[in-house]
Symmetry: C2
Subunit: 145 residues, 2 copies
DNA sequence: TTAAACAGGATAAAATTACTCCTATTTGGT
DNA sequence: ACCAAATAGGAGTAATTTTATCCTGTTTAA
């Protein structure tokens, strides 16, 4: 019942990219280094984010990756579901027929509500908002010393 | 980001026990059979529930297991956390120092809120309530035919 | 032509999950 | 005393998932 490293890394990378103006081009190795993400692992995650049309890339010298969608229109939920698959708190919520109790199971409903609530929370703020808040927090922390 | 079979099985078993009057003694093999749970696996889960003082057991012929705590005072969250460990949606919420961004990370807060909300939902109904609702649902389903 | 960048497939190591098995130990009944 | 029925608990194992790494392309600017 926990975010995997894929989700963690993807969020870090995307938050980093969403902190810069739209259109900025990043090198994967740079993002990896600045966010403590294994380089080759991040490449795989980036591939998924590109296939999902959240990022775009250009190859060759001077190439790199950049946001395809505006940061205002990306949520943590989007990112997580791309690299980890759709959120499903309980198997019976995604695998139809997993459990023959679906019809009457009172716990099923609890999971359904919990999941709706979780997904709502994870899309309640855009990556842009989160990136802005992040730099503001960072600014405050630095000014303490 | 999903309940494991341990959690699933433990919930099934407990819901089954909470449907009967307090004090009822059950055989593990019976619970396993009636709820599609591998017998030897359930034994391990029961051991954990006993150590956590949710169940008690008596050995020997005529022995078995029974609720130690009243079903009104047990929540799904209790059960899940016993067999799966404390819920931690993100590593940084349980492993202090996992990520050096804690101070300022805006996503950390999202996870914190999401987790609080999830835990609240998972303890919003007692196993007694859920068991009652279950038998009522079952009754309705049967009466359709 | 070369060096810098991403693309993608295969594979491997580590961790976790989902079990099983075997040997106690306890207890009621004969 | 003995047996059968029940849980106790440790060890081990198979399957799956996670967390990567590596290697061989392909693209492109200079």
């Amino acid at each position: 019942m926990q975010l995997t490293m894929s989700g963690e890394y993807a969020l870090r990378a995307m938050l980093y990219m969403c902190s810069e103006p739209h259109g900025t081009v990043f090198k994967i190795s740079d993002i990896a280094q600045k966010n403590d993400i294994p380089d080759s692992f991040l490449r795989k995650l980036v591939q998924q984010l590109i296939r999902a049309d959240l990022l775009k890339s250009s190859q060759g010298k001077g190439g790199g990756i950049s946001l395809k969608v505006e940061a205002e229109n990306i949520t943590p939920l989007d990112i997580i579901e791309i690299v980890e698959g759709k959120i499903g708190l309980n198997k019976c919520l995604i695998q139809n027929g997993f459990c023959n109790r679906d019809n009457y199971c009172s716990i099923h409903i609890v999971w359904e509500e919990a999941q709706t609530q979780l997904k709502d929370k994870l899309r309640s703020k855009s990556m842009k908002e989160l990136a802005l808040q992040n730099s503001q927090n960072l600014h405050n922390v630095n000014n303490l010393f």
